[in-house]
Symmetry: C2
Subunit: 237 residues, 2 copies
């Protein structure tokens, strides 16, 4: 969508508080969408992730930020919601082997289903999700073929689809290595100090620096000759 | 699945408290599945629906009955969760014209997504939903092509799908007229006095007898030469 005098179209953007979703949202904004952010309180072990989502929504100037309370703990079995140890100090080959314990069953499907409900109520035809098939190749619901199947289902599920308005699921990061995601975000002015990606922060919310998610972002910032701004921000707290 | 000495397979069954889902569950049980019922508290205007789901789960001898609290009111815009008038006294031609105001955006998609998470945690390959494309032709997410698209997506979304275990969404009622649904349920011993389908019960929970859902079931029982057992049960209260 070009920057013209046309009215900006609304897009529902899934915002987690992490680096990827913040970048995906910034890209959608740059493409001319008005952002309607949707975040979930799903019993994350760490509230710091929710605070990060709030700060990023404000930073990006979203039109509206809605929260859905959902109870994934009903089904459990993930290091992100249960008391399962988060793997540490793995190299990138290990990270991309098999399905990680941090996988939450059907999480993206549930998130996208809520986004679909929100889009339908808004009359929006666009949903933005920061999934990435490079760094998270072990998560089945981060792959392009999954997203395409969701989009197809969404167009059969809804009034909008039945009435001929086509719903599009945008995945601007899906094929980008982390370093390219960050480079794009920096060009768009994303303040990565506000983002929080750690699977296992300490009591105060400080990133561990050793889980897969911390290591991936730290390495990517290093490749750009930078220190991760979130680590710098936390060291100043 | 035949009635043999083979161990019974688990199936996740979406149970609403209504006539259709009770029948779908009874059919799955008769096919040899162990039932793991999943119900939602999504801000229904009437708690009587939740009580009915509990009574039916007990009646059908489910192995487990889980409840998920979800907040569809976040997105609103449906007569089932908002203060929109429920249409009354419509004939069947009117009922099947267009998308009814009782449609909840993306509801079945959200429900099936939770069922998918539950199935994945259980290691179940089967999900049962009592959707019906005959009586609810106005709901896009009650059609066979929608269910097929969901199933395809589900098989790409999950660990199970990636590992080659195929997920099946069973819709035993999808092409059945209401009268045939009831006939099948009666053969299987379903106690329809326990079910509750009304969109607009009074304060006590008594069915209105005039909304689309009440009229469809009343007419169907009449065709079988019966009075709706739920109406009889309420008249005795």
């Amino acid at each position: 969508m070009a920057m013209t005098d046309e009215p900006r179209q609304p897009a529902v953007v899934l915002l987690s508080g992490g680096l990827d979703s913040a970048t995906a949202a910034a890209i959608a904004r740059a493409e001319g969408f008005d952002l309607h952010a949707l975040s979930f309180d799903y019993g994350q072990r760490h509230r710091v992730e929710l605070d990060a989502a709030k700060a990023i929504a404000e930073h990006l100037g979203v039109v509206e930020h809605r929260w859905a309370q959902i109870d994934l703990r009903t089904f459990g079995r993930s290091a992100l919601t249960d008391q399962i140890a988060v793997p540490k100090d793995r190299d990138e080959a290990d990270m991309t082997r098999g399905i990680p314990v941090t996988y939450v069953p059907a999480r993206n499907t549930i998130f996208l289903s809520y986004a679909l409900a929100y889009a339908e109520v808004l009359g929006a035809s666009d949903i933005v999700i920061g999934v990435n098939a490079v760094d998270y190749s072990g998560y089945p619901d981060c792959r392009g073929e999954y997203i395409e199947a969701f989009e197809r289902m969404a167009n059969l599920a809804t009034k909008a689809g039945v009435e001929g308005r086509r719903m599009t699921i945008h995945t601007p990061l899906i094929d980008l290595p982390k370093v390219d995601i960050i480079r794009r975000g920096l060009e768009l002015g994303v303040d990565y100090a506000l983002t929080h990606s750690c699977y296992d922060p300490d009591e105060a919310g400080r990133p561990c620096g050793r889980c897969d998610s911390c290591l991936l972002r730290t390495h990517a910032f290093e490749q750009l000759g930078m220190t991760d701004p979130a680590l710098t921000a936390w060291s100043l707290k």
